[in-house]
């Protein structure tokens, strides 16, 4: 159980900056998720912690020890790769056994340990098979077993679930979460799937273009996004973002007039999540638009509405019914869920409350 520190770590490939001077402390026993679109530097960050990639500048400390120049084998880490990185010429048992073998553990102890782990991940009947004879989910479990067969200081997971089908992904997600709870090992997890990040993480580091744009708990990332990027990236469907101005206590945009407690400002963006809005019958509601699309997701109905260029999505109950082109009125469902962002910097400037439905 270990703390990992990145101090002013930078990575360049020639003139291309993959990671701009970033500092990050991963606390002991934490499940930290690096989340971001492809090319944001999340995998690079993880590979530098693993020692598979050299840092251009800065320091990486594992358990307060500088590891910049240590090869991966001396860092006492375990990693699960996106393509699993299994050894195709070895049986499942040999795959799981390999880290122990490299550490000079005797044969009998190795066999015992392999069997224990195999039972834990339900592979005991497949130990003699080759990786090529396994399904995706089974390979994934072999990779996981190989990582947990010894107790490393840190677990690194590079999109371990992305090659699995949707159903298996959900099951494995729960297993990973349980495993982390059971072992309590500091874990760094890379993904571009916000759902995985939200469900697994103790903290999420949202990354973009080689920078960490927000580092916080899933709850705060969701309810208080620091900037427009995080606001738009997290949540499905994503947060409604409406450009407009604040004038004399009202946020105004085309067909939108919402009371906010904020001083006058131009070029701001109002962010509000679909579930924080509702459709009301009152004419005086702050937003008016006509129905553009209705999508039933099962547990709720997503109603997308448009007025000129403004598009707004509202999450309604599953039994909500409307017809396309119906004119609807929208109001906030709860207080404290409206976010104002500065349009030019993208930073959040205020989260303010409005009284529901009343204008």
């Amino acid at each position: 159980m270990t703390e990992v520190q990145l101090v002013d770590v930078e990575k360049r490939y020639g003139s291309f900056v993959a990671l701009q001077k970033q500092s990050l402390t991963i606390q002991q026993g934490e499940f930290l998720v690096l989340l971001g679109p492809s090319g944001c530097g999340k995998t690079t960050t993880m590979r530098m912690i693993a020692g598979l990639e050299e840092v251009t500048s800065g320091k990486i400390l594992i358990a307060n020890e500088l590891v910049n120049d240590k090869p991966p084998k001396d860092r006492d880490i375990a990693m699960v790769f996106q393509n699993y990185g299994l050894y195709p010429h070895m049986s499942v048992a040999q795959n799981i056994e390999y880290p122990l073998k490299l550490r000079g553990m005797d044969k009998a102890t190795r066999n015992k340990r392999v069997l224990e782990i195999a039972i834990k991940v339900e592979l005991e009947s497949l130990l003699k098979r080759r990786p090529s004879q396994l399904s995706g989910g089974q390979r994934q479990r072999v990779a996981l077993a190989r990582a947990i067969v010894r107790t490393p200081k840190i677990f690194l997971m590079d999109e371990p679930l992305s090659n699995l089908d949707a159903k298996l992904r959900v099951t494995m997600r729960a297993e990973l979460k349980h495993l982390h709870h059971e072992l309590g090992v500091t874990t760094v997890y890379v993904t571009h799937d916000q759902m995985e990040a939200m469900t697994l993480a103790s903290r999420i580091a949202v990354m973009r273009e080689g920078r960490i744009v927000q580092l916080d708990t899933p709850k705060n990332i969701y309810s208080k996004p620091d900037n427009l990027f995080v606001a738009g990236f997290i949540g499905s469907p994503s947060m409604n973002l409406i450009e407009g101005d604040v004038r004399s206590g009202f946020f105004r945009a085309t067909a939108v007039k919402i009371p906010v407690q904020f001083q006058d400002a131009t070029s701001v963006v109002l962010g509000v999540r679909p579930e924080d809005l509702k459709i009301v019958s009152k004419n005086s509601a702050p937003i008016t638009a006509s129905v553009y699309a209705i999508e039933l997701t099962g547990e709720s109905t997503l109603v997308t509405m448009k007025h000129e260029a403004t598009s707004i999505c509202v999450r309604e109950s599953a039994d909500y019914e409307a017809r396309i082109n119906d004119v609807c009125h929208i109001a906030a469902r709860t207080t404290g869920k409206l976010h104002l962002f500065d349009k030019s910097t993208g930073q959040r400037i205020s989260t303010c409350s409005v009284k529901p439905t009343k204008c």
Binding site: A50, G51, L52, P71, P72, K73, R75, I77, A78, M79, F81, Q82, N83, Y84, G85, L86, Y87, P88, H89, Y98, P99, L102, R103, P131, S132, R139, A143, R146, L156, N163
Partner: protein, 271 residues
Amino acid sequence: MKKKLIWAAEHALLVVVSFMIIFPIFWMFLTSLKRPIDAYSITFNFQPTFENFITVFRDPWNLGSMVLNSALVAGITVMIAVPCSSLAAYSFSRFRVKGRKILFFLVLSTQFIPAVVIVLPFFLMFRSLGLLDTRIALIIVNLAIVTPFVIWMIKGFIDALPVDSEEAAMIDGASRLRVIRDIVLPMATPGILTSSIFCFILTWNEFLFSLILTRRNAVTLPVGLVNFRTERGDLWELMSAAGVLITVPIFLMAILIQKHFTRGMTAGAIK
């Protein structure tokens, strides 16, 4: 109807091409079994004999020492070239060193030089070293010829291997050399075997350098064939017998390669 015609045309062409390639070899096998009187006759009706295969090993032909020379030169060349090339190929494939591409090009570019151009310098060098007509000289020359080719071949096989497994092994606690031993070599075995056999065949068949650099002691089989052109004329039946002796090991290896070659193509990545 049209399909059938195309099928027929295709197969006719295959038969013609196969015949053109196989017939001379077949004729050589046939001639090797003929007595001298039958050697020039175009007949299938002759008394087959294995006499020629015994004669070529007797004085004055002494094919035995040439077989030994060829086997030693080719064998030792493979044993040195393949391990060295495997390490070089791995480095070329995996390490992002500055000037890597230029270096690799330089290694390959040695293959563009016609052998005739460098045979004379080699001759002069080995004369000053006193290595003319020795197997060592042949091994050195063959290494120079074969190594770039083998590096290039094995690099191709290693390039096709997934890096994931190697990185996984390094994280599991293996050093770079351990990774090569435990992960890369087992996975690249079909490729390395194929390359070894190619390397052996190239060396085994090498003619020009052997012709110029040897006289009596280190003569190899392909050069030995020339001995059968005597004042008495070309001894076709003996030459064919010797030809068969040269061909058979290569033939067997080609069959081996075929099996491994397809494995080399299909083995590798697990996704």
